[in-house]
């Protein structure tokens, strides 16, 4: 927080540095919540009405139609890796939504705006373009060269809200070893949508992503996308200074 003229920015950055013990994995919380719901005393409202209300509301809230008991559906039918939500199946029909604010910046400015520690994969060198989306995502773009196709690396703090939603068949995902951490490899093309600060999905950002590698290091989630074989993606990931 170099200057306090931007007090609001400084407060946002301070927020990211506050001491908050890591949240337990969502799956663990979901299990605990399910157990509590099962053993919870029945609510005061008439049960059959409540059941219907829960089904309808869960469907409205999530926009997902799943024919299993509502609470269970609401608790677990989603996988989350860092700041990326993985949905099983086809993508949503999206309403029109406002454009997401984004700006092209240099590396220092990207770090200042987001408070993220951004490094560049050594194998790729300096990117052709750096874009900051909503002060939440730093997106490094590399134009295609004779040796490789275009590459995109998104860097964001994935601890709180999810920032991207992906729609695919979950069986197609596969876990890969990245040395100090593990990553998830998602073969392309699959549908990917940006989720803004309010959790709204943005249609103009919906697109088919190429093969993608997602991994997390401490607070930061990385999303590396390129039409490259898996071993080359993991090599790029490994060339990112810690």
């Amino acid at each position: 927080m170099a200057d306090l003229d931007d007090l609001e920015g400084a407060l946002h950055r301070l927020g990211r540095q506050l001491d908050v013990p890591p949240a337990p994995p969502a799956a663990e919380v979901a299990t605990a919540v399910r157990t509590r719901l099962r053993s919870a005393p029945p609510p005061r409202r008439p049960v059959p009405v409540l059941r219907y209300a829960v089904v309808i509301l869960v469907l409205l809230v999530t926009g997902v139609i799943i024919a299993v008991p509502p609470v269970r559906a609401a608790v677990l039918e989603l996988l989350r890796i860092g700041g990326v939500e993985i949905h099983h199946g086809a993508g949503p029909q999206l309403p029109t939504s406002p454009t997401v604010p984004q700006q092209t910046v240099d590396l220092a400015e990207a770090q200042r705006l987001t408070g993220l520690h951004v490094t560049v994969p050594e194998q790729l060198g300096p990117p052709d373009e750096i874009v900051v989306i909503e002060r939440r995502v730093v997106s490094l773009s590399y134009r295609p060269t004779t040796d490789r196709p275009a590459v995109r690396l998104d860097i964001f703090d994935g601890r709180l809200d999810p920032l991207f939603a992906k729609y695919l068949l979950i069986e197609e995902m596969r876990q890969v070893d990245l040395g100090d951490t593990e990553g998830w490899l998602i073969p392309g093309p699959h549908e990917v949508v940006y989720l803004d600060e309010e959790g709204r999905q943005h249609r103009e950002s919906a697109r088919l992503a190429a093969t993608t590698l997602i991994w997390q290091r401490e607070a930061v989630t990385y999303r590396l996308e390129a039409d490259l074989p898996p071993d080359q993606l993991t090599a790029i990931a490994a060339s990112l200074p810690g």
Binding site: A2, L4, L14, V20, A26
Partner: protein, 195 residues
């Protein structure tokens, strides 16, 4: 689904509001309350502030035995090593960060609450109003009052760099003018419509 999407934020909210070791319990309890109370949830309304409101209420109950009010728990975390920023800059940043944190801690409870919601939890004005159960106007006025108090407490920027004992010439570079540039970033205008 909802747990996967919101449990990390609920956890952070509980911790920053002072749940301490009870954070996990508060979060689970809030989800149970949210699911059991889904019939009271207005379709089409945003779920996030609704859930956080439950967390805040649980926290009030938790504190009831002690001081009957929310006690914020704000502590600076460990440094993350940053290879790009030079050590001198890092020392300066740390000093400013600590000064800022201290200034936030010295604010009145309600000012701290609004700062925590708006800046540490990244909630919009609308969401903050829903979460705290305040009118939107109060969120707005209290936020700008809290920011003004912080500015007053922190004083002009050069004073901070002087305390750091670093060459004054290298300080941030911009004059400490009263930048009224309210970040129009969160244009929280519309609401999520169901699905």
């Amino acid at each position: 689904m909802l747990v996967a999407r919101y449990s990390a934020l609920a956890h952070r909210t509980a911790v920053l509001l002072g749940a301490g070791a009870d954070a996990e319990d508060v979060v689970q309890d809030s989800f149970v309350a949210a699911f059991s109370g889904l019939h009271r949830f207005r379709p089409g309304a945003p779920f996030r502030p609704w859930l956080l409101r439950i967390v805040v209420n649980r926290m009030k109950n938790l504190h009831r035995g002690r001081s009957r009010r929310l006690v914020l728990e704000l502590r600076a975390g460990a440094e993350r090593p940053d290879t790009i920023v030079d050590p001198e800059q890092l020392a300066l940043d740390r000093l400013q960060r600590d000064a800022l944190l201290e200034a936030v801690r010295s604010l009145a409870d309600k000012d701290q609450l609004v700062v925590t919601c708006r800046f540490f939890l990244d909630l919009s004005e609308d969401e903050t109003a829903r979460v705290l159960g305040w009118p939107r106007g109060s969120v707005k006025s209290r936020t700008s009052r809290a920011l003004a108090r912080l500015r007053a407490r922190l004083g002009p920027t050069p004073a901070v760099s002087r305390t750091a004992g670093k060459p004054a010439g290298k300080s941030a570079g911009k004059p400490a003018g009263e930048s009224a540039g309210r970040s129009a970033g969160a244009s929280a205008g519309e609401e999520v419509t169901g699905g």
